[in-house]
């Protein structure tokens, strides 16, 4: 389990850092700028969000996931609204990650629970443009913490998501990733059952979200996931499927683009640890977020040894984060949860 947990963290972190260099470009613009497909850590170009980052440096995606996971582990593995808020406030005070990278929905939410009142509060605002991928990007550690217990992973993912993304589509997307990662930690995990767990999570999350969260207009995460997985498991090379996923599903920050694309790219690369990341890094648009999620899925399935040896040390040094220690603590917390569950049975 530890190797899977560490793999999931490295995959997510590497996806974020590699995607930081390609974000907002098209596939063609990525090839043109770098002269090749991006397959390792690169310096982000000056015209993108990640400008100023060194190779291996993160953006909001994995850094927020790390802070949330760290606070949960330090809270004895308990996932509560308060601990997630504390984690995000702590993260928002970090000089690099928040100011430069925090996305629109997360920014709004953190301001809200820090006590800032919104103007025009009499009007009930529709939750338009909030069904974004910012909840799912930081959810993979919740799957790691609940390895093999899909329903608990889903329940905890709902708790985390509601803090920033109070709408049923964002919950559906986050639960898809959490459930799939949870399944990927198991000994008998394979591509099919990880994808099935993802679809199960998306459906469950949608149901739960309909009951407890705001309704919102927008395409279905579940149906777009089915479409992306169809492409991923269909004919063609991984590169051809990447282009199809980008053109048909889309790789933007909408939850019904980014999350389905991450699953489609995972399927298109047979769950390969590096291939799943490389597909997401080169698809264009919101590459870092998609790669964070496809990297978490594939890294958890294949384990830490599937990555080049330098990845972990580069990621830890470039970001001053202790990823290996977090993996150990997550493994310990996951084991404790497993034992408690066995005891209850």
């Amino acid at each position: 389990m530890y190797q899977n947990i560490l793999g999931g963290l490295i995959g997510a972190a590497a996806g974020d850092a590699m995607g930081a260099a390609t974000e907002a470009r098209t596939t063609e613009q990525i090839l043109e700028y770098f002269g090749h497909e991006v397959t390792d850590f690169e310096t982000p170009p000056k015209d993108t969000f990640g400008a100023g980052n060194v190779p291996g440096q993160l953006t909001d995606d994995f850094s927020s996931a790390y802070f949330v996971a760290r606070h949960i582990v330090d809270n004895g593995g308990k996932v509560t609204e308060e601990v997630v808020q504390e984690a995000l406030i702590d993260w928002s005070e970090h000089e690099v990650f928040f100011d430069r990278f925090a996305g629109p929905t997360t920014r709004l939410a953190i301001r809200g629970f820090q006590g800032e009142t919104k103007e025009d509060s009499k009007e009930i605002k529709l939750a338009v443009r909030q069904a974004t991928n910012g909840a799912a990007m930081k959810i993979s550690p919740i799957g790691l913490l609940n390895g093999g217990n899909l329903d608990q992973a889903i329940q905890d993912a709902v708790t985390v998501t509601m803090v920033t993304h109070d709408n049923y589509l964002a919950i559906s997307g986050a639960c898809a990733v959490a459930a799939a990662v949870s399944r990927a930690t198991m000994l008998d995990a394979d591509i099919y059952n990880v994808l099935q767990a993802g679809l199960y999570g998306a459906k469950e999350g949608e149901q739960i979200g309909r009951d407890i969260a705001k309704d919102v207009a927008g395409p279905s995460v579940v149906k777009r996931m089915e479409m992306a997985i169809d492409i991923g498991l269909g004919k063609g090379t991984p590169r051809e499927k990447m282009a199809e996923i980008g053109h048909r599903i889309g790789a933007g920050l909408h939850v019904a683009e980014a999350i389905p694309s991450a699953f489609g790219l995972f399927a298109a690369n047979d769950g390969d640890a590096m291939g799943s990341i490389i597909g997401a890094v080169n698809i264009g648009y919101d590459t870092d977020t998609i790669a964070t999620m496809s990297g978490a899925l594939a890294g958890t399935l294949k384990g830490a040894n599937a990555y080049p040896a330098h990845f972990l040390s580069v990621l830890e040094k470039a970001n001053y984060l202790e990823i290996e220690r977090l993996a150990k603590d997550l493994a310990k917390a996951a084991e404790e949860r497993l034992q408690t569950r066995k005891g209850e049975k």
């Binding site: 907002a24 470009r25 098209t26 596939t27 063609e28 613009q29 015209d47 993108t48 969000f49 430069r100 629109p104 009007e123 009930i124 605002k125 529709l126 338009v128 443009r129 974004t132 309704d215 919102v216 207009a217 927008g218 395409p219 279905s220 149906k223 777009r224 479409m227 980008g246 053109h247 048909r248 599903i249 889309g250 790789a251 933007g252 920050l253 909408h254 019904a256 683009e257 264009g284 648009y285």
Partner: protein, 344 residues
Amino acid sequence: MNQKVLGCILGAAVGDAMGAATEGRSLRQIEAEFGGRVEEFKAPPSDTPARKRKAGQVTDAFSIPYILTRHLIQAKGKPSRELGKQALLEWGGTEYFEPFAGMTTRSVINRLKQEDNMSLWAFSGRLGNKLYKGHYYALSSNGAATKAYPEGLVSHGDVDKAISDTVELTMCSHDDPYSISGACAVSAAVSEALKDNTSIFEIIQKAIYGSIKGESLAREQSNIWIYPGPSVTKRIEMAVEIALHSGSGDVITELRERIGSGPAIAETVPSALGILIANQGKTMESIYDAVNIGDETSAVASIVGAIAGTYYGADSITEGYLDIINRENNINLQEQAKQIAALW
């Protein structure tokens, strides 16, 4: 009076005004607010951009192309980027700008108002990203498509002219290949629908032709901005498939859940075309489905209304709606229809 021309602009106005009440809502939220589907003009609820406006009043989706059409008429039908800018500037001074300006159009007009003094960095996306100037949520947005029917009308059935005019005019605000692709799909469809002997099949074929040709012409422009995003052409293919093989299911639900109807032009235009196929182009049925698909309903319904209204003519639109639209918006659509037909 050319019934097709009047049908186009009236259909666009009716779709926009009816969609103003459901704008931004999911189907469930529409049903909860109105006690069922919306199939008439309603006063927009207080949480929509059109709050405090009256039933039958239009928003940006129709007012922008209405003003653009006036400018085209003055220029004897000859389009140019400059004309497009002037029309947007005029629109930017109207009551419609503040509540309704969309994600791309708002920043373009703000820049025009400053007489191009705004630096590229300030003009570009948030955080000074210089790669794009559209909104990151939907880099290629549907504002290009809602204002594309006038080029179709002016073309008088010459589809290739409609496409090249649309490329030229769209470049003034939505200067990226997918926005232009979606806009050309709409203007090509309207151009084809003007013909006496055509069909919904032919209209959709021309829309697909327009989306492909528009994208390729856009990529040849020297000052084009290239953005990532889903392909309008491929999403149209998908919407056509959905419309034709949902025999046992509900086409509109499938379009809503698989294609979407949000601000991305690769959602709006494909869903609008899927709705037309599902309703065999019938004007009011198509508009009703668009009004109730949810999300950016004004945009979807105005596109659907423009194409279906052209195909079936003004008589296909509920009797009395022309008077309501003219009165509530202080405009004269018959006069504008005459002036458009006089350009041919």
